[in-house]
Symmetry: C2
């Protein structure tokens, strides 16, 4: 077999929402299609990939560095020993040829996007859903058939007030979600507490609500929020300060009765290792949210899981950022603790396949081969432009 | 005044050299020109910027995110209070609008490239060399008129042997350098020691030689090299392991009698802060090599210097990576300890202005306005294509 072509497009996913740190009014995403000469059901297999919101499309790095290296590589550099399928680990090495260590930012998004498409193609060639291939490759072949998901929302829409926020949260609960997440830090503490209390009235317990500061706080503010949040017994308090300020995090973790969740802005195994080495987190109670699509893909994510095991963390403490279908497969196949979901935003990239109902806060994965992008009609429409 | 246009080009700087980690056979650099409507000597002022080798051109991020934000911003968002010059700190905030925290990689190179051009334009509008403007902005107006430089070379050219290495080093000494740096880690330890001993025969003392492992070693190898290097009493042992493995670095630093130098693969103030917090370095004897052109530019570098002061480090311990003329001005104007130089490689971006002689290991800065790119004819030729 061989990879015959790799196409990419830039898709605007602009939204009028904002979090405590940025506006999403100009956000874009890269979508890629890896074409192969392998036929399944009478058509050539094409692997599809995209990345999560928040870090912009990566057309420059894709076209100037990552895609040319793959196209230039000979089959033996990209394929499994039999030559009948792609070996994503080998392809990863090719993509990172002549890339220096350190500096894990936009490059990690470009590589993660192609890595997703390579895994999608590999699973389609095997005729398996991705979660099954991942467990076959890295675990014992068993996989979770349902994955816990929580609804991330509660942004600061311009002009949105508490009643609109509670309407939004009610819609998530009506859709079958049991745990929801809302932004904090974009308003004064007193108003954030008012918003939190209004949402809590809709929920059975504090542990059904997560709050997310998006890295906005300095240490005194982060500690002030930690103290104010404690009585609500929330599920987690997410990203209180700068994602790389591990000293601040350790001080907040020590001063917070609410479990801490963080990691969505760390894009490599070595960065994540620094988080667990220096961030003062508790492997029994805290959560890690690294997003494989932004972080060099599944190949690197598997290295992160191995590192975490070495550092005393269960993979069940990992609940990836991003709300996308690839992370859902990673959660099911690699024994994670759940996955994020963005009902109704970042469409069509946020959300899951059309036929996957949310019930009791869980999603059941289908048996569609690969990631199953073809089963999400709006999402598939984006990729059909590259066929 | 206003910025009228920002142009950028991609320049190949491919070289047959390689270090312990990557080959430079496909390396590229972005060069930018910031056009203004301010006239000096009868011509509009144009600021020039580029970045150091090793991280590739950033045309995608420049054209998709950074340049459009500057062009879209109104003058009040970019200019000093009088409206008569660019304010690079304000422009920095504009460039980073809607960029999330964390992920300091390629984006930092794109921003650093434009930041260099903005400072070049600002200094030309003031009619001052950049080092003078920097000291006026951030210090007391005094500046070093000469800067210590060392010649970085000793790469593993294919087929190059010890005699070719010593020829190379002799050429640096003949050009006026007194301290040189060579790569290690691309050959077995015994051969590296043979290379080191051959170079030491040309030098007055071990402190005239630095060695650079380019982040290649695991802990046992790094410690083995540390032990083997100790008797030579070298100037420094550079980047023994992965640039983000601060635990490894702390163990090597504890086990090395040779001072440690590192930082060229850290691209933000927060990453550098983690280095000094966790890397086990000694502010009295070790060296920091963060490169402003790869790291969000001078605005962020000044933040790094402030952070370092807070953490107990003198700016004199900083000797930037990159061998470029901007870092030379930063070293002179912001009280650093010296600067790297790449005689004869990465041309025309490596090296300094034509009329700056190296004598006794030092370079005297000229009074040309801005960075003085116009005084380096080969380098200026690159930028003239954007006039």
């Amino acid at each position: 077999m061989k990879i015959t072509e790799i196409r990419d497009i830039v898709v605007p996913i602009k939204s009028e929402i904002s979090n405590a740190f940025i506006s999403f009014s100009e956000m874009t995403i890269s979508a890629v299609a890896v074409h192969t000469d392998v036929a399944r059901e009478g058509k050539p297999v094409v692997g599809f990939g995209f990345h999560s919101n928040g870090r912009y499309a990566q057309q420059g790095i894709l076209r100037e560095r990552i895609i040319p290296r793959l196209i230039k590589a000979g089959p033996s550099a990209l394929l499994s020993e039999s030559g009948e399928n792609i070996d994503p680990e080998k392809a990863w090495t090719v993509m990172m040829t002549n890339e220096k260590p350190g500096g894990h930012g936009d490059r990690s998004v470009a590589v993660g996007t192609i890595d997703m498409a390579l895994w999608d193609a590999a699973a389609k060639i095997e005729g398996k859903p991705l979660f099954q291939l991942l467990s076959d490759c890295y675990r014992d072949g068993t996989a979770d058939r349902t994955v816990s998901v929580y609804a991330a929302g509660g942004y600061y829409y311009p002009g949105k007030d508490v009643s609109a926020l509670t309407d939004e949260m009610r819609s998530y609960l009506a859709a079958g979600y049991t745990t929801v997440k809302m932004k904090i830090g974009g308003a004064p503490l007193a108003h954030d507490l008012e918003r939190i209390e209004a949402v809590l009235k809709l929920l059975p317990a504090g542990e059904n609500l997560c709050v997310d500061a998006n890295g906005r706080f300095d240490l005194p503010t982060a500690l002030e929020y930690a103290k104010a949040l404690a009585p609500y017994k929330l599920r987690w308090y997410e990203e209180p300060g700068d994602p790389l300020d591990f000293k601040l995090l350790a001080e907040v973790a020590a001063g917070s009765e609410t479990p801490i969740a963080t990691g969505e802005n760390l894009f490599s195994t070595v960065d994540s290792r620094n988080l667990v080495r220096y961030g003062g987190l508790d492997p029994e109670t805290d959560f890690l949210q690294m997003d494989p699509a932004l972080s060099y893909g599944i190949v690197e994510y598997q290295r992160t899981l191995t590192m975490l095991k070495d550092e005393g963390w269960s993979s069940r403490r990992c609940i990836p950022h991003g709300g996308h279908q690839m992370a859902l497969h990673v959660a099911a196949g690699l024994d994670l603790g759940g996955n994020e979901s963005y009902p109704g935003v970042f469409l069509p990239f946020g959300g899951f396949a059309d036929d996957l109902p949310v019930g009791d806060g869980k999603i059941k994965l289908s048996d569609a081969p690969g990631i199953g992008i073809e089963t999400n009609s709006d999402l598939y429409a984006v990729f059909q432009t590259m066929l």
